[in-house]
């Protein structure tokens, strides 16, 4: 199988880093078209939008989540991930193959099992669980041509910055080559951005 590797890099303090790579697709803070660090080329768009504890708690509070759930949510780092397949082939999003790290240490996504355990402990109502579930990025998705997906990944709230390396196989049979996207030094905001 011939694998076409394509590296794209986005960093939050990206201007200096971008000078070193010709394949990077990003912007340097001027006329930023998306509300967070992003990678875009002819195949796909991927945007990360980290939220402060206040922002994310406000979202779920408005959906009627109880205080016990909001306390747990506020302690974690929520990042909305938007991915859009801009190509005419299938792009496979498989988050189990993504590599998350912080301070050179591997970082785990806080997934369904993590939250189910906590929701059971506080006896979170089923409606809240359903809403929470639909706001989480699925573990796997065969993104069809022009199909977007945009939901959250959740990380340990004690980290200040993280890196993400995501690989995407392409083609209906996953034999169409690989796309690789890297985000570096992405902030987990601890406070809401100042207006």
């Amino acid at each position: 199988m011939r694998i076409r590797m394509q590296y794209l890099i986005a960093v939050q303090s990206w201007c200096g880093a971008l000078l070193g790579t010709l394949l990077a697709t990003s912007a340097c803070g001027i006329d930023q078209p998306y509300p967070g660090p992003y990678v875009e080329n002819e195949d796909m768009l991927m945007v990360l939008m980290p939220h402060s504890p206040e922002q994310i708690a406000a979202f779920y509070e408005a959906r009627g989540f109880p205080k016990a759930a909001l306390d747990l949510i506020s302690k974690a780092c929520f990042v909305t991930v938007h991915i859009e397949n801009k190509s005419q082939r299938v792009i496979w999003m498989e988050t189990a193959t993504w590599h998350l790290s912080s301070d050179k240490q591997p970082l785990q996504r806080l997934g369904k099992d993590h939250w189910d355990t906590r929701w059971n402990k506080i006896d979170l109502p089923q409606a809240n669980r359903a809403t929470f579930g639909w706001t989480q990025l699925p573990v796997q998705r065969d993104l069809q041509p022009e199909e977007p997906v945009g939901r959250n990944i959740v990380l340990d709230g004690t980290i200040r910055k993280f890196n993400l390396e995501a690989r995407f196989l392409t083609g209906r049979d996953k034999r169409g080559g690989m796309l690789e996207v890297r985000f570096q030094d992405i902030d987990c905001p601890k406070e809401a951005p100042r207006q």
Binding site: T131, W134, P138
Partner: protein, 178 residues
């Protein structure tokens, strides 16, 4: 023998071309499903009236899952109301399912963006879960025998001519749809 083979081959190619033409005529973001039976859908609407998808067989159904907190759903809903209006007395049945929100949330949202729509209330999200949509919003087109024949990827501009023409054509034999 040779003539028969050539005629058969021509017919076969013609059929394949016709099939491809039909496949290519789908509006953007509409994907064929493999005709699996639609999961159960028994819910009350916002007025408390019971609905059962199985009991409404005999015509096509547009089954749409949404929530007011979902950005693409908010953007899409006014277009769905315009679609319903444009389809007029079409036999296509519109089935809107709100996922895991309260009556107040739904009433407040729809009252502003699409006051003529009356959704079903999946108050605990379990019906939505059973349908396993790819995300919200999600739309399925269920045929008169209760099988899912198409699904839409994400939010769509349903009020646009391409989608209206497609929806009006559901159930019309291909020989009559030209």
């Amino acid at each position: 023998m040779k003539t028969t083979f050539i005629v058969s081959l021509s017919l076969c190619l013609l059929a394949m071309t016709a099939a491809m033409a039909v496949a290519e005529s789908l509006p953007a973001g509409i994907m064929r499903s493999n005709g699996i039976p639609a999961p159960a859908l028994q819910l009350d609407n916002l007025d408390g009236e019971a609905y059962d998808l199985e009991a409404s067989q005999g015509h096509w159904r547009f089954v749409h899952f949404w929530a007011s907190w979902c950005g693409p759903c908010r953007k899409e809903m006014p277009g769905i109301e315009r679609m319903v209006s444009a389809l007029g007395d079409s036999p296509l049945e519109i089935v809107l399912v709100n996922t895991a929100e309260t009556e107040d949330e739904v009433f407040t949202f729809l009252g502003i963006v699409a006051p003529d729509l009356l959704p079903l209330m999946d108050t605990d999200g379990q019906v939505t879960e059973a349908w396993q949509p790819r995300g919200l919003p999600a739309t399925y087109l269920v045929d008169p025998s209760g099988h899912i024949q198409y699904q839409a990827l994400g939010g769509r501009e349903w009020e646009k001519p391409a989608y209206l023409e497609f929806l009006r054509g559901l159930g019309i034999p291909e020989s009559q749809s030209d």
